[in-house]
């Protein structure tokens, strides 16, 4: 009885304690699991390599900074404080690669939503993949009309499309013409030949007659060309007052240099964003860019509520060493739009997220976004985005329009190369 029963007793107690602990642990595991912050995987699809890589980097900066802020504020609260985690896909500036990268992000990495790509030519095919797999996709870069005109339900754009772009540019031309009395009559369109260039040029062409302007030359060129001398000569021969241009970074540099070489002058040259906003452009051409008027999606000199643009810009500058721009600004906003939608959806289900994005209704007063319009998507997924115009002065960009945000007075007409002391 004695020894044996004591041993049995002890093991009995030990086992019961063990069982009890196990029961307690298994009971509390669901509670523990619920308190574990999950992460929300968001796909970032940009041309990380290739000619547009520098631009892609800036877009990703904008997304990153927003994500850090979102996560620092506790992540998406309706999902238990889940943090945003980016999964990066590289389109290599090639449409087919973009399509397979999108497919991988959606089907293998199971991202909840996609952000990007930046360029129209790449986004047009990749968004078809997003639509195919019913994955919500927010774009903050491409302007081609066709992207939101296909009856797709999962594609949303937070920047203006080509038609609005054209209208805004021509409104500006009218404004500056009325202001200075120098009204251009003859217009030439110089554009690169992919979807960005084709779509923007088409929109301009359609609108010119409404503003009483005459198209005297349309000059497409190959995006990867190394020599534009004959094209610029043809431009010269057409004697335009106003040149509307669509270019990416490298061709933008080439156009400016060639115009300098061939002493091409006109009343005004207005490129439509694209490569002209890339810091690499200003760095390469320096003072040759002076008097160039560029339209943007975003510029940090906006006077937002509580100086938010300046504050955000200081933060960005501290982190990345340069000012916010057309690429990082809209990207930042798009991330916040997505976060707002996720918060309202309270779920990682793509359909619910999509519906939440479609119901977005925020602006810079009631949310951290930095751009001055209402983020509210129409039935095609387009937001009523606006833009701003800057002019290069001494190699730097100054805002000239809309006037309430202007930091400098517009110089119109453009001075000749000689007048600028460059020849």
């Amino acid at each position: 009885m004695g020894k044996r029963s004591r041993k049995t007793n002890r093991s009995f107690v030990l086992v019961s304690i063990l069982v009890g602990v196990c029961l307690l642990l298994s009971a509390s595991t669901p509670i523990l699991a619920q308190n574990q912050p999950k992460e929300i995987k968001i796909g970032i699809l940009y041309c990380m390599t290739g000619p547009l890589a520098s631009i892609a980097r800036l877009c990703v900066n904008g997304h990153e900074m927003a994500a850090e802020e979102i996560n620092a504020k506790g992540g998406i609260k309706s999902l238990g404080g889940a943090k945003i985690k980016f999964v990066v896909g590289d389109t290599e500036s090639k449409p087919q690669v973009a399509m397979s990268a999108a497919e991988k992000l959606i089907t293998k990495d199971n991202v909840v939503a996609l952000l990007g790509p930046y360029s129209s030519g790449i986004a047009f095919p990749s968004t078809q993949i997003s639509e195919k797999y019913k994955c919500p996709n927010i774009l903050s870069g491409p302007v081609a009309n066709q992207i939101t005109e296909r009856g797709f339900k999962y594609i949303f754009r937070t920047v203006y499309n080509a038609t609005t772009n054209a209208r805004v540019a021509l409104d500006f031309v009218k404004w500056v013409g009325d202001k200075t009395g120098q009204r251009p009559k003859r217009v030439a369109i110089l554009h690169e030949d992919t979807l960005f260039g084709q779509s923007t040029a088409k929109s301009w062409k359609e609108m010119l007659p409404k503003y009483g302007l005459e198209l005297v030359a349309e000059l497409p060129y190959q995006k990867t060309t190394q020599d534009l001398s004959t094209t610029i000569m043809k431009l010269k021969a057409a004697k335009p007052d106003l040149v509307l241009q669509v270019s990416y970074t490298n061709d933008a540099i080439l156009v400016t240099r060639t115009m300098y070489d061939l002493d091409f002058n006109c009343m005004g040259r207005i490129p439509s964003g694209g490569g002209h906003i890339d810091p690499a452009f200003a760095k390469a051409v320096g003072k040759l860019a002076d008097d160039l008027i560029v339209n943007h999606h975003y510029h940090p000199s906006f006077k937002g509520p509580k100086n938010k643009n300046q504050i955000a810009n200081e933060k960005y500058k501290k982190k990345y060493g340069i000012d916010m721009d057309d690429y990082s600004g809209p990207a930042y906003d798009a991330t916040w739009v997505l976060a707002d939608a996720l918060e309202r959806a309270g779920s990682m289900d793509r359909q619910k997220v999509r519906d939440a994005i479609a119901a977005t209704d925020i602006n810079w007063n009631n949310s951290p976004v930095l751009r001055p319009f209402q983020y509210k998507f129409d039935a095609t997924g387009q937001a009523p985005a606006t833009g701003v115009f800057t002019q290069f002065r001494d190699g730097k960009m100054q805002v000239i329009w809309p006037e309430e945000y202007a930091s400098a007075k517009v110089v119109w007409p453009m001075r000749t190369w000689k007048e600028r002391g460059l020849r």
């Binding site: 590289d90 290599e92 449409p95 089907t107 047009f124 992919t194 084709q198 190959q222």
Partner: protein
């Protein structure tokens, strides 16, 4: 006796492999099915090229011309007229064949051979590429995106990869059948003759131009079908991929490495190169593109130095050495070929 045993054994093996391939989609994941599709697809294209470049010996480095015409024809007929790509495929094949016969006739009539013929084929492909690049009515530099219509057999669109798998596998079997038929036929004999020594063949009374044209016609028609498949599989075409010089090289690469002028050379070439390419892309990956093609370049150079006929003939020669006198005639056939080139 030994030869026929070896031969029937190898056909058994091939049939068994074929049956295995039929069941693969059930066990492989989407990504691996995609890799198999690529393997079959490039083997198919290589086989089409093989007819002209391997058997008839006319080195074409502009085959992308036919490939592109196939893709553009069927895609344009579909987006503008709603014609099912199945028929569009045939139309593309016919269009490519007409181009092939036309340019082929011009080349052969003027006696272009060797590097001159190669340059001419390159020239034609480049001209087509530039024209396509500039015609905005057919997409221009932006290319054509085929609208997504969901699962629709008649429209050659499928939501699951396995349908494409079976289609391209079928195409590969078809091309192998065609080439096997050629190899065993008198036509194949004439091809080989004019490949080895054109003047001698002509002296023997073979109509060189006629057989060269048959080779071009067949090769271009089949290559164009591949173009349509690609268009429907990726849903996007543009002039650089469809007509570019790199695509032309891509088409002939597996065949050269595997063994031009053999039935299974392109297949072996594709089974080796394609997985190598995918593995390298995934292992190295992350924005460091180019390594797979770099390795292809090295492999091509090595093959040119050490195994000039390609891997399959080299293997066959080794095997026949191993089997000794039984297979002497095939070994000596190989030796004679070396001598006359």
């Amino acid at each position: 006796m030994m030869k026929s045993v070896v031969r029937s054994r190898s056909s058994l093996v091939l049939v068994a492999l074929g049956i295995v391939c039929l069941f693969l989609p059930a066990i492989l994941g989407e990504y691996l099915i995609h890799v198999m599709i690529l393997i079959f697809f490039y083997a198919y294209l290589g086989q089409c090229w093989n007819i002209l470049g391997g058997y008839a010996g006319q080195l074409s480095i502009g085959h992308a011309a036919y490939y592109g015409i196939g893709a553009y024809t069927s895609t344009l007929l579909f987006t503008h007229l709603g014609l099912t790509p199945w028929l569009g495929m045939i139309a593309g094949g016919v269009a490519a064949m007409m181009l092939g016969l036309f340019t082929g006739y011009l080349c052969f009539r003027f006696g272009l051979k060797g590097p001159y013929f190669a340059l001419a084929t390159l020239g034609f492909a480049e001209i087509l590429r530039l024209i396509c690049l500039n015609m905005t009515s057919i997409g221009g530099a932006q290319g054509i995106l085929i609208p997504l219509l969901g699962q629709d057999f008649l429209k050659f669109q499928f939501m699951e990869r396995k349908f494409f798998y079976y289609i391209v596998f079928g195409m590969l079997i078809l091309s192998i059948a065609v080439v096997t038929r050629i190899e065993k036929s008198r036509m194949g004999y004439y091809f080989r003759a004019l490949h080895q020594n054109e003047d001698a063949a002509e002296a023997l009374g073979i109509d060189i131009t006629r057989y060269k044209l048959i080779a071009v016609g067949l090769s271009s028609f089949l290559t164009a079908l591949g173009g349509t498949f690609y268009a429907q599989y990726t849903m996007y075409i543009e002039p650089e991929i469809m007509f570019g010089s790199f695509t032309s090289v891509d088409i002939l690469l597996r065949t050269i490495i595997g063994g031009a002028g053999t039935v299974y050379g392109p297949v072996i070439g594709s089974f080796i190169l394609t997985p190598v390419s995918e593995i390298m892309r995934n292992v190295v990956g992350g924005g460091k593109s180019g390594i797979n093609i770099m390795v292809f370049g090295i492999i091509v150079m090595l093959i040119c130095i050490f195994m000039q006929k390609g891997i399959l003939p080299w293997l066959k020669a080794r095997v026949s050495n191993y089997f000794g006198s039984e297979n002497e005639d095939s070994a000596s056939e190989y030796v004679i070929k070396e001598g006359t080139s």
